[in-house]
Amino acid sequence: MSHISEPGAGSAIGRAGSRYWRGKTSYLGALPFILFSGLFLLYPTYNVISGAFKNQQNKFSLSVINETLHSPITMGAFRNSLSISLRTAIAGSILGGLFAWALVTGKKKGFLYKISVALSSVLAQFGGVMLTFAFLATFGFNGVVSSLALHVAPNSFLASSTWLYGLNGLTVVYTFFQIPLMILVFLPTIENLRPQWREASDSLGGNSREYWTKIGFPVLTPSFAGAALLLFVNSFSAYATAATLINLSSFLTPLQIASALSSEVGGANPAEAKALSLLMVVVVTVVMILYSLLRRRVSKWEANR
């Protein structure tokens, strides 16, 4: 039964009435999804945020947040998390950004271009257990690089695998998925650099360095910064890779949350898990808002082009 196909049916009042109800019944169509996302998304979010502000007796209190923020273990993990995100965001955005530039200056849409994009979209999602295995097979005990180093330079840090389980190791491992993500995110932007600008700069007597410092970098900077922020969040939220590589639960905030949540170790502490989660949500939200502001600037520039 369609209302649209019966123009002029019924009196003016009747029409107004049915239109009123039609407007209301339309909302029923969105109801299943609203209920579903309420159950699986909004309720968990509410649960985490409200839970962080409750004490053991389920009353409103800032004590858990207070304790969490003043615990040296928590702050150590948080600092590690921030540091690793910062380091991998910088390393990933520079290496990935340069690779994107190298791709674009090559043959447009050639084989190398296509295979790089396809491989990047797979490797950007390549995390967790499998990534850990890949790096153990490379730098771990009896790995490809470590056994080579054992022959060539037995005293170098590469010959033993202990470095892999620390901040430096995790940085190297995380950068593996940050580079392809950067390539995917940054490629469209760098493709937007007009060859005409280069020609204009050249014909006005500018050299290569002047082109990059006065035109290239200023145009690319907002997108580059935005992509780096995205990489930051990507690394900050990552859990699976660290969980399978590092056994120390107080090493990163996500690891600490997981150990506070599960009672395997003994003292399960859901309240602490929630307070730590809130900390993560706050960081991610702030970064995403910055990202969104930067994107807005980029699209404004792209629209005015």
């Binding site: 299943p32 699986f40 998304l41 509410y46 999602q125 295995f133 153990l136 490809v144 699976a240 969980a243």
Partner: protein, 264 residues
């Protein structure tokens, strides 16, 4: 002339370094998986690859992951896609709230979502049943930003209001209009969104591990504790599988569309 030569050198160096970074660990996986293990082997062996089918939990885990991915796909087709279309058509006031709702998971890391959902999940497993449905529910929320972005990009490209009016003038029911007319016109967007969803579900470890649901990734980790070679072989095999799967997807610009977020 001199400049282009310099640029070429830079290009090659950068591409070489990055390619080495990304390909060496993959090669190492292959190397590791063909290493001799046990006394019976001398030299390289493919035994780790040959014993993959006889791993006890692996088949069940693959089936579980695929079923979960299937349910997620079903949720996308039956619930998410129609809702996005419906809101676009009839409920313009809900457009912005819906968009924000769909982008919310970007601000909620998976590990945080687990913390929030754990009590509910436990309740459902105890009182109802331990089925992949609950996990699929969580996953369908996790992938919302990606699905929503590819859907709304596809919807922006067609004039669905005219399509809808035409369909209803010709007497199509609402169901027919959405499933038979609008959904086929945006099928590329739906396919893209679904592929990203499946790749994410098959690679997901955080949530399933903490909720103690043995999906493929959880079982790979478990195999890794007893026999490294086999686990590495399985990882490489599944990586190749996902690569083939993603090569089948037409558009290569998926991720950018998806990540072009405007939260404010």
């Amino acid at each position: 002339m001199k400049r282009t030569w310099k640029v070429q050198l830079w290009r090659r160096t950068i591409m070489g370094v990055v390619a080495l970074y990304l390909l060496l660990p993959l090669y190492s996986m292959f190397d590791f998986s063909t290493k001799p293990f046990g006394f019976a082997d001398n030299g390289r062996t493919l035994r780790a690859w040959k014993v993959i089918p006889s791993q006890p939990d692996l088949g069940v885990a693959i089936a579980r992951s695929l079923i979960t991915a299937g349910i997620v796909m079903l949720l996308i087709l039956v619930m998410i896609v129609p809702t996005v279309i419906w809101v676009q058509l009839k409920l313009p006031k809900l457009r912005r709230p819906l968009e924000l709702l769909c982008l919310l998971p970007l601000a909620i890391p998976a590990i945080v979502l687990v913390v929030g959902i754990a009590p509910l999940y436990r309740w459902i497993s105890i009182n109802l049943t331990e089925s992949p449905i609950t996990l699929a529910g969580v996953y369908s929320m996790l992938i919302l930003p990606y699905t929503y972005r590819s859907l709304s990009a596809a919807l922006d490209a067609v004039d669905i209001h005219t399509l809808a009016e035409a369909a209803q003038t010709l007497g199509a029911s609402t169901f027919r209009m959405i499933s038979g007319i609008i959904m086929p016109t945006i099928r590329t967007g739906i396919i893209n969104g679904s592929f990203i969803a499946i790749a994410l579900v098959l690679g997901e470890y955080t949530i399933s591990n903490i909720l103690n649901y043995k999906t493929i990734q959880v079982v790979i980790a478990q195999i890794g504790r007893s026999s490294g070679n086999v686990a590495v072989a399985v990882s490489l095999a599944s990586l190749i599988f996902v690569l083939v799967l993603l090569l089948l997807v037409p558009s290569a610009k998926r991720r950018q569309e998806v990540l072009d977020v405007d939260l404010a």
